[in-house]
């Protein structure tokens, strides 16, 4: 059972990894390194989505401050001068990144997972997000670009509730 889950997690993570790399390319950013996130660190800007269906997956994306700023500048250039609006948009950025990347990665999922339903992004406490990774079969990678770093993690369980 665990081996099956490990295989599933790796399959999904591979799809998300490839789509993340395409995302960086689209943003005209260079991917410098992709490595296992063995220490299971998460940055301050982390969100997750659930994929539910024949299996339940949780996909986390975690963005560091540098990447957050880089993406904001690329999306909006100098079009936002109001600080309040800027903060609101920055706060929403991780949601948008996970929606884009995971949404597009579904195209390349194995056939049996193409029918999985994608939830809206959810923000939990860092502690609860780490609990999800610890309590379930999971795998995590870090993608380092010339504009900042992104951590992607996938967890699989019959129950990915952090409680």
């Amino acid at each position: 059972m665990t081996n099956n889950k490990k295989k599933s997690v790796n399959l999904i993570l591979d799809c998300v990894k490839e789509e993340s790399k395409s995302f960086f390319e689209d943003m005209l950013m260079d991917v410098l390194e992709v490595e296992d996130n063995q220490n299971s660190i998460l940055y301050d800007h982390t969100v997750l989505v659930f994929l539910t269906g024949i299996k339940k997956f949780t996909i986390l994306m975690s963005i560091d401050n540098e990447l957050l700023k880089t993406l904001f500048d690329k999306f909006f250039q100098n079009n936002i001068s109001n600080n309040k609006e800027k903060n609101e948009l920055m706060n929403d950025m991780p949601n948008e990144v996970i929606n884009m990347i995971v949404g597009l990665s579904i195209r390349n999922f194995p056939l049996e997972y193409k029918e999985l339903k994608l939830s809206v992004p959810v923000k939990l406490s860092k502690a609860n997000m780490l609990k999800i990774l610890e309590k379930n079969v999971s795998q995590s990678i870090k993608i380092v670009s010339d504009g900042g770093s992104l951590i992607c993690a996938v967890a699989c369980s019959s129950n990915t509730n952090p409680k």
Binding site: F23, L89, M93, N95, V120
Partner: protein
């Protein structure tokens, strides 16, 4: 000049689209954060064009599209979506959407789709 309604639960996408439409010279007359809001706002503003996200809370974009088309058969809606998944886009098209644009949004693609919906209205970037 086209009057546009933007429907997306993402503040970022709504803001990006406002900026892009202003650059092209269109007016954003309404913004909705859910399909349910979109249905109500469409009736209030009757925009020339709607950009509609697919995955939204309360009511998704496809259900909102169907609801709008029920009462406004000539409504012109294009889906702006992060889902590359064929099935959802095809369902939207068969429900009456005029086209779709994938996120991250590129202005040239947005203009291309709008030109197809309004063939008499050429937009140059």
């Amino acid at each position: 000049m086209l009057n546009i309604m933007i429907v997306d639960d993402s503040t970022i996408i709504r803001r990006m689209l406002v900026i892009e439409f202003e650059k092209i010279g269109y007016q954003v007359v309404a913004q909705a954060k859910s399909g349910k809001e979109a249905v109500a706002m469409y009736a209030e503003h009757i925009p020339d064009l709607v950009t509609m996200d697919i995955t939204m809370p309360i009511m998704n974009g496809i259900d909102a599209l169907k609801e709008i088309k029920k009462n406004f058969k000539n409504a012109k809606v294009i889906m702006v979506t992060s889902h590359g998944e064929e099935k959802l886009v095809m369902e939207a098209i068969s429900s009456g959407a005029k086209g779709y644009v994938l996120k991250p949004i590129k202005q040239e693609k947005l203009v291309e789709v709008i030109n197809k919906v309004f063939p008499g209205l050429r937009n140059d970037q």
